[in-house]
C-alpha cells in the first residue's frame, strides 16, 4: 500500500467480502436445499439449513434416484475417482517418460515426436467428437474404465512443463551419474523424478481437477449406468422427464460432485497456483 487512505481500504475490504459472498451464495443455497425435504424445497426455498441432511445424503449415496434411472451416487463418485486418478497418473507417467527421451537423448525423429505431441494441444476432444467415439467403439472400449481414461491421457502441456524443467537440471548431475556408472533409467528414477517432485505435485492438482470435471467424454463413451461419473450423471437427474425434479436430492448430488476438487484446490492452494501459472507459460 502506497499511502494511507482509510476510506479506500474500507471499500476494498467491502468489495472483496461482497465478492466472496456472491461466489459462495449458490453453493450455500444448494447446501440449504440439500437439507430439506422435496416438498419444502418445492414450496419455496428456505434460507436456513433444515434437518433432512442425513436422510437426503443417505438416499443419494446409497439408493440414487431410481425414478430417474440413475445408479447410486456412491458408485458414480467411485467411477469419477477412478477416472480422475487414471487420467492424472497416466498423463504424469507418459509425459515424464517422453520428455525425458526428448531432452536426454539424441535420436532420429526426435523433433517429429515433439511436434506430434504438440499437435494434441490443437485437437481437444470437442472438435473431433464423432471420429474419436468411433475409434473407441471399434477398439471395444465403450463402457470401460480404459475407455474413460486412456484416450484423454496424452498431454502436451505436461510434456512441455517437464521438458522445460529438465532443461534447467544441471549437466553436472548427469555427468556424475554417468561416471558412477548409472544407466539412463537409473538416472531417471533416482535423480530426475525426485528432483521433479514439486512439478509433479503441482501438475497433479491441475490434472486431477481436469479429470474429475470431464463431461463430454464420459457422456460419449458410457451408456451403461454402472460406469457413469458424477459430473456427467447429474444431468440425468436434472432432466428426469415429466416428473418434477427432486431438487433437494439433485443439490445433494451437486454438493458431493463439487466437494472433492474444491477440497483439493483449497488444501493444495500453493501448488495449484504454481501449477496453473507454470502450465500457461
Amino acid at each position: 500500500m502506497v499511502e494511507r487512505r482509510p476510506l479506500l481500504t474500507f471499500t476494498q475490504h467491502a468489495v472483496l467480502i461482497v465478492g466472496a459472498a456472491i461466489f459462495v451464495f449458490p453453493i450455500y443455497l444448494a447446501f440449504v436445499a440439500s437439507t430439506h425435504t422435496g416438498t419444502e424445497v418445492n414450496r419455496g426455498l428456505p434460507l436456513l439449513p433444515g434437518d433432512q441432511m442425513q436422510e437426503n445424503y443417505a438416499i443419494v449415496l446409497g439408493e440414487g434416484l431410481s425414478t430417474a434411472g440413475a445408479p447410486p451416487i456412491g458408485l458414480m463418485l467411485m467411477n469419477s475417482t477412478i477416472m480422475a486418478l487414471a487420467i492424472t497418473l497416466g498423463k504424469l507417467a507418459i509425459s515424464l517418460l517422453s520428455s525425458f527421451a526428448i531432452v536426454y537423448f539424441k535420436f532420429p525423429f526426435r523433433v517429429l515426436a515433439f511436434w506430434t505431441i504438440f499437435i494434441t494441444l490443437m485437437l481437444p476432444v470437442e472438435v473431433r467428437i464423432l471420429p474419436t467415439y468411433e475409434v473407441v467403439a471399434q477398439l471395444g472400449m465403450l463402457n470401460s474404465y480404459a475407455g474413460l481414461s486412456i484416450p484423454l491421457i496424452a498431454s502436451a502441456t505436461a510434456t512441455f512443463l517437464f521438458r522445460q524443467f529438465f532443461m534447467t537440471v544441471p549437466d553436472e548431475l548427469t555427468e556424475a551419474a554417468r561416471i558412477d556408472g548409472a544407466g539412463p533409467m537409473k538416472f531417471f528414477r533416482d535423480i530426475l523424478v525426485p528432483l521433479s517432485r514439486t512439478n509433479i505435485a503441482a501438475l497433479f492438482v491441475i490434472l486431477f481437477i481436469y479429470g474429475w470435471n470431464q463431461y463430454l467424454w464420459p457422456l460419449l463413451v458410457t451408456t451403461d449406468e454402472s460406469y457413469y461419473t458424477v459430473v456427467m450423471g447429474i444431468q440425468r437427474l436434472a432432466n428426469s422427464g415429466d416428473q418434477l425434479p427432486q431438487w433437494n436430492l439433485i443439490m445433494a448430488t451437486a454438493i458431493l460432485a463439487l466437494l472433492p476438487p474444491v477440497i483439493v484446490i483449497i488444501v493444495m492452494q500453493r501448488l495449484f497456483v504454481r501449477g496453473l501459472v507454470e502450465v500457461e507459460k
Binding site: V2, T11, Q12, H13, V15, L16, G19, A20, F23, P26, L29, A33, N42, I94, L97, S98, A101, Y104, F105, K106, R110, V111, A113, F114, T116, I119, L121, M122, L123, E126, V127, R128, I129, L130, P131, V135, V136, I150, I153, A154, D171, T174, I209, N213, Y215, L216, V231, M232, I234, N239, I250, M251, A254, A257, L258, P261, I265, V277, E280, K281
Partner: protein, 294 residues
C-alpha cells in the same frame, strides 16, 4: 530444438520412452482428426450404404444454413459476454486484493475455489437458483417486476448460461490478474504517488498498461473456454433451448452427430472448429514469444 549437452546413448530406449504418448496421440488424436477431415468431404445416404465424394459441398451447405449461422453468432456473442464479464469482475477484485497486504491469501482462498467446480455442475446450480417456479433469484426478480422464465425466453436462458460460465471463470482470471499486478514493481506506483497521482490515476496510467499482456492472454484463454469447455453447461441445463437460442457450436456438432446422425455435416463442423482452435492457439503462441521479450 535443443537437447542437453550431456546426453545418453541408447539404440532403442528413447523410442520405447516416447512410444506410449505417441501411440495414444496417433490413435486417439491424429487418426480421428484425419477421419473428420476425410468425412467432411463425403456424403452418406440415409442408410449408410453408399458414400460419395462431394468436395466442399458440406461446407457450402453449412454456410448457407441459417441454423448454423445462427449457432455461430450465438457462440460468438456468448463467448464475448463470458470473457468480458468474467474478466471485468476479476480485474476489479484483483485490484482490490492487490492493495490488501495482510489478508491477501485469505481473500485468494475465498475467491479461487469456484475454478474447481465443473462447468456442468455450475450450470445445474444456477439453473436451480433461476428456476421460474422455485428458484430464489427468479423469485427476487419477480418481486422487482421482472418475469423470469428461461424455459420460454431466449435472452433469459442466455443470461443464465453466461452467468454460470462466467461464475467459475472469474476465479481463473482473478489469479492471473493478481499475479500480473503483483509483478509490477512497487517503485513505479510509489514514484507516481509521490508525484501526486491518486489511486485511480495510477491504475489507469501505470497498472492497466503494464497489465495489457495479461489482458490479451486472458482474452484468448477465455474465448477458448467459452467456445469449447462450456458444452456441459448447455447440455445439462437448457439443452440448446428455448428453440435454438442457446445452441453453441460444440453442442451443435454433438447433436448433429449423435441425434441427427448427419455424419458429413458433423464432420465439416468439426473441421471448422479445429480451424478455430488452431487459429486461437497460434495467436496465443505468438503472444508468448512476445512476452519472453517483454
Amino acid at each position: 530444438m535443443r537437447t542437453k549437452k550431456v546426453t545418453f546413448r541408447h539404440r532403442w530406449l528413447p523410442y520405447a520412452l516416447v512410444a506410449p504418448q505417441i501411440v495414444i496421440t496417433l490413435v486417439f488424436f491424429i487418426w480421428p482428426a484425419s477421419q473428420a477431415l476425410y468425412q467432411s468431404v463425403l456424403r452418406q445416404d440415409a442408410f449408410g450404404l453408399r458414400t460419395e465424394f462431394v468436395g466442399l459441398a458440406n461446407f457450402a451447405r453449412l454456410f448457407a444454413d441459417p441454423l448454423y449461422l445462427e449457432s455461430f453468432f450465438t457462440t460468438v456473442w456468448f463467448s464475448a459476454l463470458v470473457a468480458g464479464s468474467s474478466m471485468l469482475v476479476a480485474l476489479v477484485l484483483a485490484v482490490m486484493a492487490d492493495r490488501v497486504i495482510r489478508q491477501a491469501t485469505t481473500y485468494r482462498t475465498l475467491l479461487i475455489w469456484p475454478y474447481a467446480v465443473a462447468p456442468a455442475i455450475a450450470g445445474v446450480l444456477w439453473w436451480f437458483l433461476f428456476n421460474p417456479t422455485i428458484g430464489i433469484l427468479a423469485y427476487a426478480l419477480e418481486a422487482l417486476g421482472y418475469d423470469w422464465n428461461h424455459y420460454q425466453d431466449g435472452t433469459d436462458a442466455m443470461t443464465m448460461i453466461v452467468i454460470a460460465a462466467a461464475w467459475r471463470q472469474v476465479a481463473y482470471n482473478f489469479l492471473f490478474f493478481l499475479a500480473g499486478l503483483q509483478a509490477i514493481p512497487k517503485s513505479l506506483t510509489e514514484a507516481a504517488a509521490i508525484d501526486g497521482a491518486g489511486p485511480v490515476k495510477r491504475f489507469v496510467t501505470i497498472q492497466l498498461p503494464l497489465l495489457s499482456p495479461t489482458v490479451f492472454f486472458l482474452i484468448v484463454v477465455n474465448v477458448v473456454y467459452a467456445f469449447f469447455e462450456t458444452f456441459g453447461i448447455v447440455h445439462a441445463t437448457t439443452a440448446g433451448g428455448p428453440g435454438n437460442d442457446t445452441v453453441i457450436l460444440v453442442y451443435k456438432v454433438w447433436r448433429d452427430a449423435f441425434e441427427g446422425l448427419n455424419l458429413g455435416s458433423s464432420a465439416a463442423q468439426s473441421v471448422i472448429l479445429m480451424a478455430i482452435v488452431i487459429a486461437l492457439t497460434a495467436i496465443q503462441f505468438r503472444y508468448i514469444e512476445r512476452r519472453v521479450e517483454y
